[in-house]
Symmetry: C2
Subunit: 252 residues, 2 copies
DNA sequence: GAGTGGTCTAGACCACTGA
DNA sequence: CAGTGGTCTAGACCACTCG
């Protein structure tokens, strides 16, 4: 009890018990902001779960769940018999279920997209397998060039199942694929990703303005809805000098 | 209630209420095995949480926690008002807080390691910053070649802080770095990773038996203990035809 | 021994879904 | 409407760490 594991009271004013936002989420998001802004410094110890609950008028499981969220994000470390501490390590944004377009916008950049091709085709064997449809099914094949602040950054190739054959190039140049899918009520529940590297093929070096045969960082993704249906299958390649994948791993 | 969301009773026999293994973990791990082995098929619906609890003599929060584990792993999908279903999509192993050596062993391969160099040096500015020590501190610099079934696969460069200056090349050729650290009671709590790509430098193409200037998949990692101290900083490069990073992402 | 997080119980009310 | 998961409460006992 020599150290004072407290924080400014005002972090947790105005908890809304009637609205739709869960209490544990209100707690964890405010706590996260306070940590990221340095209001609660790295290495600081939190109060124990029970007294936090008493101060806020919450039960221990609710407080505990809020803290668990930040433990999972790698912002806090809990140790039995010791307490809860703010992590010293700089935390990077995890690989999330978001699109490149959204990642860039959030990072303060202004992404732009050029649709290189947008075709409705009959799926060949390989494409049909990726989308889990019958070969010959009419699907959408899409190829885009994504730039950031005017610099070409990635070539995005995507396959879409039959239900999305009405997407137009104009909307794609303005809005990012995932944003369009969400607007149609399509929810991505799970995605499998494989990250790798290879040389440029075909016209990729011209599109990305790099030497022919240069290394590319690649990401292959298949996204599923709640029923296990494939929503989208993508093969993306990035200029490795402009893009990389960051993750924070937390031991369980 | 038309579908019968049940499973073989024998999955959950022999729950151990006195041992050190939490009940929720016993449930989730057995359930995971049953799903991975196909005993519970993809798309099957689970019973609701309350009746599972009654059948097993457990409270709802305990059952719920077990299910949540598998939702987080991407094996189950829960929807309010609907129920819980086994995911249809094939699930890949997530990027975990494990070493390459352990990943390979678990995948049934026989990794071998050649220690290329193992030096105790005074940290230059850049190395000191990565390990978060003072420049000039005596650290360990380590360079290894990791092969699988005889084929060279990755060049692993690591920096270790002063407390590990007594590690020998012999133990490193047999045991993998993380295994050695764990044996000394060192626990890695958090790691930041950046995955990227670049050309080969220096002698890397010779070591990996690929053309000079070929693409490499790279991973930079800094691992921390519970107190935020750096345990290890690594720069690894992999032959992209032999290695890639797989992840399953689950929407929150 | 005092204090911490880890686990577990037995209820409760609500929001959402489908028939 | 009944059934589902999402949230929340108010306790309890335990294992672990430290002084």
């Amino acid at each position: 009890m020599s150290t004072d594991p407290v924080w400014p009271e005002e972090i947790f004013t105005d908890l809304d018990r009637s609205g739709p936002v869960p209490l544990y989420f209100q707690i964890s998001s405010r706590l996260e902001r306070a940590i990221r802004e340095g209001v609660i410094p790295a290495g600081a110890r939190l109060e124990n779960e029970i007294s936090i609950g008493e101060r806020l008028g919450l039960s221990r499981p609710t407080v505990r769940r809020a803290i668990q969220e930040l433990v999972n994000k790698g912002l806090l470390v809990r140790r039995r018999g010791i307490g809860t501490q703010v992590v010293q390590a700089r935390v990077s944004r995890p690989v999330e279920l978001t699109s490149l377009h959204e990642d860039l916008t959030r990072a303060g950049h202004r992404p732009s997209t050029r649709v290189l091709s947008l075709e409705r085709i009959a799926a060949d064997e390989h494409e049909a397998q990726r989308l889990q449809v019958e070969p010959g099914t009419e699907i959408t094949r899409l190829r885009r060039l994504r730039s950031t602040d005017g610099t070409p950054m990635a070539v995005l190739e995507n396959l879409l199942p039959p239900e999305f054959t009405d997407i137009t190039a104009e909307t794609l140049e303005a809005h990012g694929l995932y944003e369009l899918l969400r607007k149609r009520g399509v929810t991505i529940k799970i995605a499998n990703q494989v990250i790798g590297a290879r040389r440029t093929h075909g016209d990729e070096h011209e599109l990305l303005d790099i030497p022919k045969g240069s290394p590319l960082l690649t990401m292959d993704r298949v996204a599923f809805d709640h029923g296990g249906r494939v929503i989208e299958a993508g093969h993306h390649c990035y200029r490795p000098d402009l893009y990389s994948f960051e993750t924070t791993l937390v031991s369980r």
